[in-house]
Every structure is written in C-alpha cells, then in structure tokens.
C-alpha cells in the first residue's frame, strides 16, 4: 500500500515528537513507493512517460533500400537449400523476452517487377512448351538467434507466393508483371526463450522447375518493432 497514513495529533496529547515523526516516517517511506494508488484516473499524461517505454522505436530497426535486382539466377531449389537473401535486408539485433513485452511485430513491404512470360521466341521470359507448371516465386522472413542458432530459419507463416499472370503468345505481346507484397507477423518462434541477439532477413526463391526467371524488388521496407506495454 502506497498511501500515506497520518497519525493524528490531538489536543491534550503529550508534547512529544512520536506522532509527528510517525507521520513524517510515513511520508519518507511512501514517497519512494508511488504506484497506481497515488495517481488519479487518467492522471498520467504523455509527457510523463519515458521515450520508448511503451513501444520501441522502429527507426533503429528499419531497413530501407531503393532497388535490388535479382537479375542473376534465383535459386530454383527449395528454400532450405538456397533461398537468396534480399541484399541489405538484415535487421537486428533485437531483444526478445516474451515475459517482458507484449509482442514483437515484424513488418515487410516491397514492390516487385518482372518481364512478362511468352511462348514463342527466345530471351528472358520464354517458357518452354514442355513446361508442366506455371512458374512461381516465393518470399519469406527468416530469423536467427545468434546465441543458439547456427543459421537462419524460415518463419513458415510468412511464406508468400507470387506467380506470373497471363502468358503471351510471343515476346512482342508479353505483359510485364508488377505488384506489391506486405506481411505483418507476430514473432513467437522462440517461445519463452529470451535473447538479445535476434536478427531477421528476407529471402526469395523460385519454386518451380529449372526455368530461371529474374525479378526486381524495389521500394523495400522491413522493420521489427517491440511492443513493450
């Protein structure tokens, strides 16, 4: 209890310091112990709250790059093997402590572009007539706790798949692909483990047969934000 309980001095009491000291002692101890019982409802205002006491600033976590082109071949293999990291997409280290935070929110948004697909003719985007499935590419967020993990691991819930749209009959009629992709993720992969060396990055790969199709990623924004209280 943090409320001060005064010892009332009454007329006729002996003129001794006991009751006065008791009240002063109450003040001395309670004034170090202020809690919600001392503050009126809605009494705490913005200016009383320390910076980043409620939500960590994302500015130290954001990674923003203008344009990255995966012009060279994206790995046409499963993600565990060789998903290509989007350059400069590493963010961290973050502190993660499930008992001292509300959530760790990870946000990704990016824009992608690719040349259109076509059947007849040569050049990038050409589909072989023996193709048995439409080419897709995937993106996902990866994480790593440097204290306990040797390599980055995929956050399965953040896998997103994009495929090309219409396939033109020839190169002259192909339609470029472009679009945007965003993800908001509540990171819980570490469970109750606490760490102060948590990192993230973003990886892409092509999930189809041996056809290699480059994409360009730009307007990329990736950050994580601790919601503390």
């Amino acid at each position: 209890m943090s409320k001060v309980v005064l010892t009332q001095v009454n007329k006729g009491d002996p003129l001794v310091v006991d009751k006065i000291n008791a009240s002063i002692g109450e003040w001395n101890s309670r004034s170090n112990d202020i809690d919600e019982q001392n503050v009126r409802q809605e009494g705490v205002d913005r200016r009383n709250i320390a910076s980043e006491a409620v939500i960590d600033s994302p500015s130290t976590s954001a990674s923003q790059i203008d344009s990255v082109s995966t012009a060279s071949a994206m790995p046409a293999v499963s993600p565990t093997g060789g998903a290509a990291k989007i350059p400069d997409s590493d963010i961290g280290p973050f502190t993660y402590n499930s008992s001292d935070q509300v959530a760790l929110k990870v946000n990704l948004s990016l824009h992608y572009e690719a040349v259109g697909l076509f059947i007849a003719g040569s050049g990038s985007g050409n589909l072989s007539s023996s193709l048995t499935s439409i080419p897709k590419w995937k993106v996902a967020i990866y994480y790593k706790d440097s204290a306990s993990m040797a390599s980055f691991a995929q956050i399965d819930e953040t896998v997103r798949t994009i495929t090309f749209g219409l396939v033109a009959i020839d190169k002259a009629n192909r339609i470029p692909l472009s679009g945007s992709l965003s993800i908001a993720h509540n990171f819980t992969a570490l469970g109750s483990t606490s760490t102060s060396s948590l990192s993230f990055n973003v990886r892409v790969w092509q999930d189809t047969n041996s056809l290699v199709l480059p994409i360009t990623i730009n307007n990329f924004n990736f950050y994580a934000q601790r919601i503390l209280r």
């Binding site: 009494g43 320390a50 503390l228």
Partner: protein, 209 residues
Amino acid sequence: MAFRYRQVFFEDGDIVSPKDWNRNIAEYTQEFNGYLDRDNLPSSGVTSAMIKDEACNSVHSFSSTTDTTITGDIGVWQSTDGTTKFSEVSFTLDSDAMLILEWSGTWEWSHSFQLSSGGIAYRGISTTGASDDYVEYRILVDGIEVCRLPKSTFPRVCDSAYMVGAIPVAGGNHTVTVQAKNSRENDSSPSFIDVTLKERELFVWVRKR
C-alpha cells in the same frame, strides 16, 4: 496543476496547537493519496518497468500454414471451409480501444496447367467466362466490415495480398474474422474453381492508450 500549498501560518510565540500541523500536512497528503496528476510527475519519469503489462497495448494473432479451401460454387462470403477457419481471433477487452487489423495471406486457384499454341494461353479448364472468376477477402469485427481487398481474378493463379483497417471498439467480447468470397462477375456455364488459401496471418493490435 495539482500543486498544493500550505493553508495555515504559525510562528514563534504561537501556542502549539495540533490543528495547525494537522491542517497543513493533510493538505499535501490528500493529494498524494490518490490525486496526483501529470504536473506532480516528472517528464519521462514513467519507464517500462513501472507500467503494467498490457496496460497500453495488447496483441492477438492467428497464423496458419494449413491449406484450407474457399469453395467456388458457394459464391457468398465464407469464413471457414467447414472445419478450418480462414483467420479468426476472439478476445475480451476491459476498456475501450482502437483495433488495428492487418491480414496477409497467399492463395492458389485450383487449375490445370495448359499452354495454348495460339492466342493468349490460359492455365484453366476453359477459356470462356473463367477469366472473370475472382476471390476477395475482408475483415469483420463483430460482424462489421472494416476493410476489404480488391478482387483478385483467376488469371493470377497464385497471389498474395495484405489489407489493413482500424476501428474503435468498446470494452467487452470481440471477434475479428477474415472472410473470403469466391465468385464470378457473370453467371456463365464453366464450372467453378476452388481457391486454396495457404499461409496466412491475422494481426490484431489493440491500442488502449
């Protein structure tokens, strides 16, 4: 400003009356015992350690990697395939709050791959009418639509999308649901195609203060 000031003046030569002492100390104690406000507290004095957990924010999320089907021939808003919910969270609030809702997911149309030797190639079953099949998603809070994605049409065989919305709510029980609708613009003969909803996540950020 919740500053308090002494109310009684006494000086040397005055009788030692407890009323004077009691009155003055009570003036400050009354404010301390439950009426302090922002003027009594220092700037930036309240740190994380002093704030109760979830006093300002709470988060509720749903994520899944389990495939679920958005049936094509139903044509109305669905929130489940009968067994698996697309995305839903329920929670109870003890005070009014602002909900910030974010959902992202990825899906794929059930199709058979086909390349044509002439014209534009489709990957569908038929070239007639199927081009205007679409899937769309929306977020509802207690049955009220908050945001909706634009329609994503069949030629985009695989796609991903993200939507965000915000709505103030009162304290109490709340349910946030993601619904999907698989339909077509023109009612024509080709069979309906299902959509498989794959990885998805619903993030509900409750901003209390």
